[in-house]
């Protein structure tokens, strides 16, 4: 029998950064084929693309898009942190970059929301 760790063992910033990176990466990976498929409707002309865009122009889709924009920003900034950890001389777990990544997520979320509301 082996015991497994619970939340108390996991509860530190670098572990949460890992969870955010993994969940955002997975969500983006699942979204990509859909995204490509939607844009491919342009093969059938501007009207077809427009048809899809109008179909997607409803609150639930906008909310999902907003979430994906935030996840993309989080995954990018969190990924830069991992690259810094792996390729530059060791300087701790770079928790300053975890904070910065959160900032990137907030900025991207606000920018997208403001652009939508315009």
């Amino acid at each position: 029998m082996m015991r497994r760790n619970g939340l108390r063992a996991h509860n530190h910033p670098a572990w949460w950064a890992f969870v955010v990176h993994r969940v955002s990466g997975l969500a983006l990976a699942l979204f990509l084929p859909l995204h490509f498929w939607a844009l491919s409707t342009a093969l059938h002309g501007a009207a077809a693309l427009d048809g899809f865009l109008r179909f997607a122009d409803r609150p639930l889709f906008k909310f999902a898009e907003w979430g994906l924009v935030i996840l993309l920003a989080l995954h990018m900034a969190g990924g830069v942190r991992l690259l810094l950890i792996e390729f530059l001389p060791w300087s701790g777990l770079r928790k300053d970059w975890i904070a910065l990544s959160c900032g990137c997520g907030v900025i991207a979320g606000l920018a997208f929301a403001l652009a939508l509301l315009r």
Partner: protein, 113 residues
């Protein structure tokens, strides 16, 4: 042999990540700009149709995605779904092909649409 392949996968995922970091930054700005000016099929295509810059940038973006994404997804499949590494890597290769084909189709559609 397999550990050398794994080392190379790690390397390519990191190299593609460096490319993607720049692409994503540009893409996020583009998204906000496009949404601000209202999303309509004609408005989007008017900017992308025949644009070499658009085609080149997004071709690089798609290629980097096709390299980067499946490697990460394979690790998740191994660790969270208990898939064997052979099955996970085979599925990853198929997913890479799918992303590349679908991605290039999308870029082609936006440039010629």
């Amino acid at each position: 042999m397999e550990h050398a392949a794994q080392a190379k996968r790690w390397y390519w995922q990191r190299v593609s990540a460096m490319v993607l970091a720049l692409c994503v930054l540009v893409h996020l700005v583009t998204i906000v700009y496009a949404v601000r000016s209202g999303l309509s099929g004609e408005a989007l295509l008017a900017r992308t149709r025949g644009s070499v810059a658009f085609a080149a940038f997004y071709a690089v973006f798609v290629m980097a995605c096709a390299v980067h994404v499946p490697i990460g997804v394979a690790r998740i499949a191994e660790e969270w779904l208990g898939l064997g590494s052979c099955a996970a890597n085979a599925a990853a290769n198929a997913f890479a092909l799918l992303l590349a084909v679908m991605g290039f189709t999308a870029v082609y559609a936006m440039v010629t649409g």
